[in-house]
């Protein structure tokens, strides 16, 4: 039997276990479920969980560690054992609810740990190659170098500061576009718009998040870039390139609008009406109510939404490649081409460079650095939220 069918069989056993556990508890209670400590359903779940969980864990483990072939069928035995054991434990006094809830809680913990595990795995998968990079390339030059000129023959300059500058600059512009528009859109949807308008507009704006970034990239390249160049950059004498930080930032901002608007809208909508009533009854206008009562109460969620948008901005590649160009440069002029860390990570990883050379390995170092930096940013954000949070009720 293939592991897949063993899995199906285990699940079938679990369903059976649910039915058996449930009916047994009812029978033991003499049909009066009030005599039970826990509802019959919990007894059923208890049996089902004890049947399925250990067996499935064993199966997963066997897959992960390439265990010998007899291990998989053993899972079935384990499932049967779990079924029998938990069924025999089913008595009216048995605290099935607590038992089930303990298991659920365990599952919740495991799920929360997946995030940690992901982080660990990311750090691990970056750290070794980064170490190799730093063996080949001095870290001072990497962290403090202001020139980014990789070349095939070696002798590349791989300073990350220009990339960092570009990352921050582009993200900033993107947020300057997305946050006001998104926030105002959220406010309008939750507090002004009729339910009908809202029910149309909100999903519509969410489509913006679903358009593949390459479309935005082309949009930046073909439409926004020349537009900004011809109408703003050239008249002001700020440059004549179609790709610029501004182009990428503006287009990225468009893409991020739904991240800010939809999440904020939900959070703003969740602020109790009684708070709004309280403020309105003081003779404040709708906008005063929103600015001074609703928004502060919704702050943690809004900051979360903005962080999410910022995160997407930092992680975005396609729009930057097409919109901002690939030039690593530090310049205050937003109408010049620059590029970001993420773009270079993707670029160096998918290029034609020698894969064991610093030019490729620098991608890992960049990834790790970015990781640490955003970590700092997030800690700051958490601190701010803690400080200004207004908990209602």
């Amino acid at each position: 039997m293939s592991p897949f069918w063993i899995m199906i069989a285990t699940l079938a056993l679990a369903v059976l276990g649910y039915l058996l556990g449930r009916s047994r508890s009812i029978r033991l209670a003499g049909g009066d479920t009030r005599a039970l400590h826990s509802r019959p359903g919990y007894h059923g779940w208890n049996v089902a969980l004890f049947t399925a969980l250990p067996a499935l864990l064993l199966l997963a483990g066997a897959r992960l560690f390439h265990a010998p072939g007899w291990v998989a069928p053993a899972a079935l035995v384990l499932a049967l054992a779990g079924l029998g054991l938990s069924l025999s434990r089913t008595t009216p006094q048995f605290r099935a609810r607590n038992s089930v809830e303990r298991v659920i809680r365990g599952v919740l913990v495991v799920c929360a740990l997946i995030a940690i595990a992901t982080t660990l795995a990311i750090v691990l998968s970056l750290v070794f190659e980064s170490a190799r990079f730093f063996q080949m390339y001095p870290w001072q030059d990497f962290f403090f170098g202001t020139e980014w000129t990789p070349s095939f023959g070696g002798g590349s300059k791989l300073g990350m500061l220009p990339l960092l500058w570009g990352t921050l600059y582009i993200s900033l512009i993107a947020l300057l576009v997305a946050v006001p528009i998104g926030l105002y859109a959220a406010i309008y949807m939750s507090d002004y718009a009729s339910p009908r308008v809202r029910s149309v507009v909100k999903p519509a704006i969410e489509v913006l998040a679903g358009i593949p970034t390459i479309v935005y990239g082309l949009f930046a390249l073909v439409t926004v870039g020349p537009l900004l160049r011809d109408w703003i950059a050239q008249p002001l004498g700020l440059g004549s390139g179609g790709s610029s930080v501004m182009t990428a930032g503006v287009v990225m901002g468009m893409m991020l609008i739904p991240f800010v608007s939809s999440l904020s809208d939900d959070i703003i909508n969740a602020v109790p009406q009684s708070l709004r009533d309280g403020s309105l009854a003081m003779g404040s206008t709708h906008s005063e109510t929103i600015r001074q009562v609703v928004l502060p109460a919704a702050l943690p969620g809004i900051v979360g939404a903005i962080l999410l948008a910022a995160s997407r901005a930092i992680g975005e590649t396609m729009i930057v490649v097409l919109g901002a160009g690939a030039m690593a440069k530090i310049s205050p002029n937003p109408f010049e081409a620059m590029t970001t860390i993420t773009v270079k990570i993707v670029g160096q990883l998918t290029g034609d460079n020698d894969f064991a050379s610093p030019e490729t390995l620098v991608a890992f170092a960049l990834g790790l650095t970015l990781f640490v930096m955003t970590l700092g940013l997030n800690i700051l954000a958490l601190y701010i939220v803690r400080k200004y949070r207004e908990q209602y009720e």
Binding site: L275, A281, M282, Q292
Partner: protein, 267 residues
């Protein structure tokens, strides 16, 4: 939006003392007819008590008086409500300005999740009632004193208002409403969570306010109604059954329903 400046029209002399003139007011919540055909004149510089069994429509009617019902999607109001002779449901009336003049204390305390100080200072700030910080401090203190809360919170003005006890929250909401200095103050069971002493202080406040403003108070306590109000309106199943001088209502009710409600006095 059009600036219509109607209104400098002469106010009828006979209505001079009438603050609110309500005619045939109807309120529906969706299908439910919550207020039926209520006509009543609320006088200036007077405390009016609304009494009646729970669910009879007191809060609903109260909320009509400063158009707070606007915020309930399914609520629909019909009829005329004139404040100083002007229909507050007129299309041209700005509910914001209305609510600045007609303040409200809600049945369920709803302090803002801000500091106690900011809760009270909120109204004065948006209406620009204070020229400077000192004045604002003064307004806040006065309002908190009026609501009999000052002593309890003076040391923790900058802690959050939601961390107060139920009764404290209620008094905070009263202070908040008073600080805005409205012309009419609507109070929905302002003393329900208050102990006798605090209640007495709030009643004293109401009495003070009466000198300049008109106050409408919803209460379940006949004693309180009798103590603080000059006029009483008795609601029953959405109808205004009886309205008159408080003394008359409590001593000589005309309607048998009023009679039986009052005589079931327990309070």
């Amino acid at each position: 939006m059009d600036d219509v400046r109607l209104a400098e029209r002469a106010v009828d002399t006979d209505a001079r003392d009438i603050k609110f003139q309500c005619r045939d007011v109807q309120v529906w919540y969706g299908e439910k007819h919550a207020i039926k055909d209520v006509s009543v004149d609320l006088l200036d510089k007077t405390v009016t008590a609304f009494i009646g069994p729970s669910g009879c429509g007191k809060s609903t009617f109260l909320r009509c008086l400063n158009r707070m019902n606007d915020t309930i999607g399914i609520a629909r109001v019909e009829g005329q409500m004139l404040l100083d002779g002007e229909n507050i449901y007129d299309r041209r009336v700005d509910p914001v300005q209305l609510r600045a003049r007609v303040g409200m204390v809600f049945q369920k305390p709803n302090p803002f999740p801000k500091s106690i100080y900011d809760n009270v200072a909120y109204g004065p700030r948006i209406h620009g009632l204070a020229r400077n910080r000192a004045e604002l401090d003064e307004i806040v203190e006065k309002a908190l004193r009026g609501a009999a809360l000052w002593n309890e919170v003076k040391d923790r003005l900058h802690e959050t208002g939601t961390g107060l006890s139920g009764g404290q929250q209620q008094r905070l909401c009263i202070a908040r409403a008073v600080a805005t200095a409205p012309e009419v103050l609507l109070m929905d069971e302002p003393c329900s969570a208050l102990d006798p002493i605090a209640t007495a202080q709030v009643e004293e406040l109401i009495d003070e306010l009466r000198a300049t403003f008109s106050v409408v108070i919803v209460t379940h306590s006949m004693q309180q109604a009798a103590r603080v109000s000059q006029k009483t309106a008795f609601f029953h199943l959405g109808n205004l059954v009886e309205y008159g001088d408080t003394d008359d209502i409590f001593t000589r009710p005309r309607d048998p329903r009023t009679e039986s409600y009052i005589s079931g006095r327990i309070g």
